[in-house]
C-alpha cells in the first residue's frame, strides 16, 4: 500500500497531535502574558495621578479619627490608582478622592484671548462627582469622597457583562455633574479611559476624546438593567461670540448653573486651577449668591475658611491665603480646633487690597460647618462673591473682551502682511 500524498491528510487521521497543541498553547500563553506584562507596564506610569506638591501644612482632618501612620502615608501617596485607592479605609478614601478633582477658579476678571484659547459651556446644576468604572461596577463619588451611587453602566468594565476588549481591571474615570431632575450624569471631562490616563493631555484633546469615545460605549443610552444611569456629554463651544451666546442663552436639557471656561491647552490638574473658570449671573444661574447653612442668602457675605494653628483663617488655595484671624480666646471659647472649617461673616464689606492682598477686615464667627464639607472657600470665590454683591463682572464685559480680542487679531494679521 502506498502512503497518501504528502499534503493529503487521511480524514481518519487527527489534524494535529496533542503535542503540537501543547506547543501552540504554550506559545499562545507566552504571547498573551507578554502582552499583559507590556500593558501593565504601559498603564503603571500613565495612571500616575499627578497631585502636585503636598501642601506645606497638611491640615489634620477630624482629630478624633486618628489615622495610623502607615495608612496616612498611603493616603498621601500620589502613585495610587483609583482602584487601589478605593481599598483605603473610610476617611482616607474620601481624602484621596477629594484631591483628584479639577476645581475651577471663579472668574473675577476676564482672561486675555478668551476667544482663541478657551472653551465655554453651560454648567449643569447638580452634584459634582468622579465616576470610576472598573471590574464590572461603576462608582460615583462626591467631591468629599463619599459614594453617591454604585451601579452597573455601559462604561468600559462598568457592568458584569462581556466587554469586547481590554482587561476587566482597567478603569475609566469621568468628571461629571449628577443632575437630579433627569437622573443623568453630565460628563464635563474625561480623566482616564480604559486604563489610559488623560491627566497629561490638553483640554482640547480630552474633549475630543470624550466626544469620540463615550459614544462608542453606549453610555449615553437610556437606562436599562445593566445601565442604571444615562451619561450625556455637554455641548462644548469655542469661546467666540457665537459660542458664548449659545452657552449663555441657548436651550439645554438641564438646569444651568453658570458657565464653565476651559483653557484649551491646560492639562487636567487636580485642585484649584486658574486655567478653568466658572462665571455666573442671574440669567444663567439660580445660585449666584451663596446661601448659608439654612439655604438662605444672608444679608452679609459669609465665607468658609480653615482654622490654622496660628489662629489664622485661610482659604483652600495652594498655598493657603490667610484672610483674617480669630483670637485665641474666641477659639478656646467656641471649642474650635486646628483644621476646622468655620463659617464667618464679613462685617465690614469694604474689602481692601493691602499690599496686593485682600483684607476682609473684622470677621464675625457664624459657626462650624458640617462634616461633609471637605474644603474651605477659595480666594477667587470670596472675591467673586464679593463682586457679585457689589460690582459684578457682567456678560457684557465678556462680550466686550471677545470683541476687542478679535479686533486685535485683525491688527496683528495686518502687521504680518506688512512685514512680508
Amino acid at each position: 500500500m502506498a502512503p497518501p500524498p504528502d499534503h493529503r491528510r487521511p480524514i481518519k487521521r487527527a489534524a494535529i497531535s496533542d503535542q503540537q497543541r501543547r506547543r501552540e498553547v504554550a506559545l499562545r500563553l507566552q504571547a498573551d502574558r507578554r502582552s499583559d506584562a507590556q500593558n501593565r507596564a504601559r498603564q503603571l506610569a500613565s495612571s500616575v495621578l499627578s497631585l502636585g506638591p503636598e501642601p506645606a501644612t497638611e491640615p489634620e482632618v477630624e482629630p478624633e479619627q486618628e489615622m495610623s501612620e502607615a495608612s496616612g502615608q498611603l493616603a498621601g501617596r500620589s502613585d495610587l490608582d483609583p482602584v487601589r485607592a478605593a481599598r483605603l479605609r473610610g476617611p482616607e478614601v474620601r481624602k484621596w478622592f477629594a484631591r483628584q478633582l479639577l476645581l475651577p477658579e471663579w472668574m473675577v476678571d476676564v482672561p486675555p484671548s478668551l476667544d482663541r484659547d478657551w472653551y465655554v459651556f453651560p454648567r449643569p446644576s447638580g452634584k459634582r462627582c468622579f465616576v470610576v468604572s472598573s471590574n464590572g461596577t461603576t462608582i460615583s463619588r462626591l467631591r468629599n469622597g463619599s459614594i453617591l451611587h454604585r451601579f452597573p453602566s455601559n462604561l468600559p468594565n462598568g457592568a458584569r457583562t462581556k466587554d469586547v476588549s481590554g482587561p476587566a481591571s482597567s478603569y475609566s474615570i469621568l468628571d461629571c455633574i449628577f443632575h437630579e431632575p433627569d437622573e443623568t450624569y453630565y460628563v464635563i471631562d474625561m480623566v482616564c479611559w480604559r486604563g489610559y490616563s488623560l491627566y497629561d493631555c490638553t483640554a482640547e484633546f480630552r474633549f475630543f476624546w470624550l466626544n469620540s469615545k463615550l459614544s462608542e460605549t453606549g453610555a449615553s443610552d437610556p437606562p436599562s438593567q445593566y445601565h442604571r444611569y444615562r451619561f450625556n456629554v455637554v455641548q462644548i463651544y469655542e469661546c467666540n461670540l457665537a459660542g458664548l451666546q449659545a452657552s449663555y442663552s441657548g436651550q439645554v436639557p438641564y438646569v444651568k448653573d453658570g458657565l464653565l471656561f476651559f483653557n484649551k491647552h491646560a492639562h487636567y490638574q487636580a485642585g484649584n486651577t486658574p486655567l478653568a473658570l466658572v462665571w455666573k449671573d442671574n440669567v444663567c444661574s439660580q445660585y449666584v449668591l451663596d446661601t448659608d447653612s439654612k439655604g438662605q442668602i444672608p444679608s452679609q457675605q459669609q465665607v468658609v475658611l480653615e482654622l490654622q494653628n496660628d489662629g489664622n483663617l485661610t482659604t483652600s488655595d495652594d498655598p493657603p491665603v490667610a484672610l483674617g484671624s480669630l483670637s485665641r480666646d474666641l477659639i478656646a471659647q467656641s471649642g474650635l480646633r486646628v483644621g476646622n472649617l468655620v463659617r464667618v461673616a464679613i462685617k465690614d464689606e469694604r474689602m481692601r487690597l493691602v499690599d496686593g492682598k485682600l483684607d476682609l477686615g473684622e470677621l464675625q464667627l457664624v459657626g462650624k460647618t458640617n462634616h461633609s464639607r471637605a474644603f474651605a472657600d477659595t480666594y477667587s470665590k470670596v472675591l467673586f462673591q464679593h463682586a457679585a454683591r457689589h460690582a459684578p463682572l457682567r456678560i457684557e464685559d465678556l462680550v466686550a473682551s471677545i470683541q476687542s480680542n478679535s479686533s486685535m487679531d485683525n491688527s496683528q494679521a495686518l502687521d504680518v502682511e506688512m512685514e512680508g
Binding site: 502506498a2 497518501p4 500524498p5 469586547v164 476624546w209
Partner: protein, 871 residues
Amino acid sequence: MALEVTQILLNAQSIDAATRNHAEESLKQIQEQNLSAFLLSLSAELANNNKPIESRKLAGLILKNALDAKELHRKNDLAQRWLSLDLATKTQIKTSLLQTFSSPVSDARSTAAQVIAKVAGIELPHNQWPELIGSLLSNIHQVETHVKQATLETLGYVCEEVDPQVVDQEQVNRILTAVVQGMNATETSSDVRLAATRALYNALGFAQANFTNDMERDYIMRVVCEATQSSDVKIRQAAFECLVAISSTYYEKLAPYMQDIFNITSKAVREDEEPVALQAIEFWSSICDEEIDILDDYRSEYTGDSDVPCFYFIKQALPALVPMLLETLLKQEEDQDQDEGAWNIAMAGGTCLGLVARTVGDEIVPLVMPFIEENISKPDWRGREAATYAFGSILDGPSPGKLAPIVNVALNFMLAALSRDPNNHVKDTTAWTLGRIFEFLHGAAVETSVITQENCQQILTVLLQSMKDVPNVAEKACGALYFLAQGYEDEGSVSPLTPFFQDIFQMLLFVTHREDATESNLRTSAYEALNEVVRCSNDETAPIVMQLIPVIMLELHQTVEAQKLTSDERDKQNDLQGLLCGCLQVIIQKMGSIEGSKYAFMQYADQIMDLLLKVFASRNATVHEEAMLAIGALAYTAGPNFAKYMPQFYQYLEMGLQNFEEYQICAITVGVVGDLCRALEDKILPYCDGIMTQLLKNLSSNQLHRSVKPPIFSCFGDIALAIGENFEKYLVYAMPMLQSAAELSAHAVSQDDEMLEYTNQLRNGILEAYSGILQGFKSSPKTQALVPYAAHVLQFIDTMYGGREMDDAVMKSALGVLGDLADTLGSHVGPLISQSSSSKDLIEECMVYDDPLIRESAEWAKLAINRAVSG
C-alpha cells in the same frame, strides 16, 4: 588529471564494513586534497560507458550531494563553492554530464539529468550556463529515443530546481513545445512519452503566460487528457498527476474542461488500477481545497473577497460526484486499520467526501443519507463500515441544525455498534465517527449540543468499555473521549464529566499500561485524552487531578531510573518520557490557573523540578522539548519562588539555547526565558549576562534556523521589561543588532506568502524588543540612554508603514512602540514623533480599524504621544 576512483566507489558499497569505511575515508581525503580533481573524476566516471553501473551511479550521487543540501546555510555554502571553481573545470564537468545522455544505461542518464538540474539551479540565477536550455532542446530532434528521453527528464528536473523568473518566456515557450510534443499520442516511444509527461508536471509553474492563451491552453489540456487514456499505466498516472497540479495552479482556467475531466476521472476511479484511481480522486480533493480556500476568503471578516472567483465546480458536479465517491467506500482492504500508513481507494474516497462536505455544506446530506440507510445494517461488514465512514466523513461542513436530528437518531445505534458489532473495522470507524460527532456537534460553540446530561453517562460507559478492545478500536475510543472532553473545556463547574473523573483517569492509566499500548499509537492517544480531561477540570475536580500528580511522577521516576536498555527499549522510553512530561505540563498549567488548587499543587514543585532536571540527562529531542515546556509552565505558576531552582536549572537552559541542531528546542527554550523573566522579574538578573551572551551569539549565527530569530528579539523585550534599567549594559550590543535586523526587514521584498509571514514575524519580534526596552526604562534616570535610538525606531516604523505589508500583529506592536517611545522618552522625542508619518497617519488609520485590539493600541499611542507633545 582525472583520478582513478572506480575501485574506491565500488568499495564504498561493499557489504564489508571495514572496506566500506576505508573507502569512504579515502573519498573524503581526495575531496579535501583537491576538490576540482575530485569532481572531475566523478563526472568522468559517470560519463564512462566502460565503467560498472554501480560506481557510475555513486559517482553521480556524490556529485549531486556536492552541489546541494537540505539545510539552507549548507546549501548556500555549496553553491558558493561551485561558483568559485575555475571555469575550465566547470565546463569539463558539464560537458561530461551532457555526454552521459548518449549512454545506453538508463540509470546513468537519469543520474546525469539530476546532476545537471542541480548545476542549473546554481548557475542560471547568476546568468551562467545560458546555452544549457538551447543545447538540451537541440537534443529533442535526435533520432535516438534514449537521448530524447534523458533530455526531457533533464528539462523536468531543471524546471523543478529553477525559479520560473530565471527563464525568459521565449525559452519557456520552447521548453513547453518540446515537452508537450513529447507527450503527444503520436510519440511512439512510451519512455519518451512518460519522461515528457513527468517533465510537464514540473514545467507547469512556468506556463503562466501559456495558460492565459486560449489556443495554447486548449492544446496542453487536450494532450494531458489524451495521456490519461494511454495504454501505459505509468503514463496515465503521470497524466493525472498533471491534472491535479493544474487544478491547483490554474483553477480559474478549468471551466471549459470540467465536463471532460469529470468523465475521465470517474472512469478512472471506477475502472483503472489503484495508483491511477487515487490520482483521479485526488483531482477532486484538490478542487475542494481550492474552493474551500476561496469560500473562506469570501466569508472572512476583514477582506470579504478573493483574488480568484469561485466557480462552484463541486456544487455543479455534486449529483454525480457523490455517488462515485460513495462507491469507493466499499473497496476497503482487510486490515487497513492496523496499518498506520495505509492509503487506498476507500480511504481516499472518504477523505474526498469529507472535503466535498466542507465545500458544499448542507447540500451533501440528502445525497449521502440513502447510502447510509441502505448499507448500515448489511450483513457484509463492508456495507456497515462504508455507511458509517460516509456518515463520519460528512459531519464537518453541514450546519449543526441540519445534522443534529440525524445524529440524535444515530447516536444510540452507534453506541450499540461500538459495543457489539462483530467486526473490528466497523467498530474502528464507529468510534472515529463518535469522535467526529463530539468534535463538531458538541461544545460551547454549538448552540444545541447533541450531548446531554442524560446520554453523557451512557456514552462514557461505552467509550471506557471500548478502551479494553483491540488497540486500533481502543485508540479511536480514546480519540472520541478527547473530543467529548474538549466540548466541556469552557463549562465551569457544571460539567457532566465531573462525577466520572475518577473512572476516566483509572481507565486511561490502565490503557497506558496495556502490553500492546505501543500498537496503533494507543498509548499516545490515551495520554492525549488524559491531558484533555485535565484541561476541562474545575474547582470541583481539581482534587482528583491533584491525585494524578504522584502517579505521573512515579512513572516518570521509573523511566529516569531505568538502565541498561536496548536501543529499541530506549526509543520507547523516550516516547514515554515525552508523554509524561507533556502530561505534567498540562497539569501544571491547569492547577496553576485554578486559584484554589495552586497552593496545594506547589507542594509538589520541588519533586517535579527534581524529576525534570533528571529528564534533561536524556539526549532525546522530543523529551527535552516537553520537559522545557513543563518547566516554563512551572516557572509561571511558581512566580518569584522559581528563583531557588535557577542555580541547578541554568545549565540546561544554556544547553537549550545552544542547541542549533534541534532548533525546535532552541525556540522553546527562548520562550521559556520569557516565562522566567515574567516569573522572576529582577531576580533573573544574575543569569542575564549568560543568557544575553548566548542570545546574541545565536542571532549572529547563520547556522541557527531562521524561525528562532524573531522569538529571540521578543525575548530581549521580556528581559528588558524584567530587569529594567539594568538592561543598559546590553544596549550597546542589542541595539545595533535590532537596528540592522530592522533595516533588513523594513525593506524586505517578499516574493511569497511564506517569506512575507517570516518578515512580519521578524518585525514583530523587533518591535516587541523595542517595547520591552522602552517600558523597562520608564521612569528611570537612565532613560536618556535610549534617546539616540529613537530616530531609528521611528524610521523603521515609517518605512514599514510606507511599504504597506504589515500584518495586524505588526501593526499592533508598531502602535505600541510609538506609544512607548512617547511614554518613556516624553518631550525628548516629541518633535521627532510629530515629524514621523506613521505617528500621525498610521494611528489615524488604525483608530477606525475593525479589530478592537488594534483600535485600542492606536488609542494608547495617540494618548501617549499627545502627552509627550503637549507636555
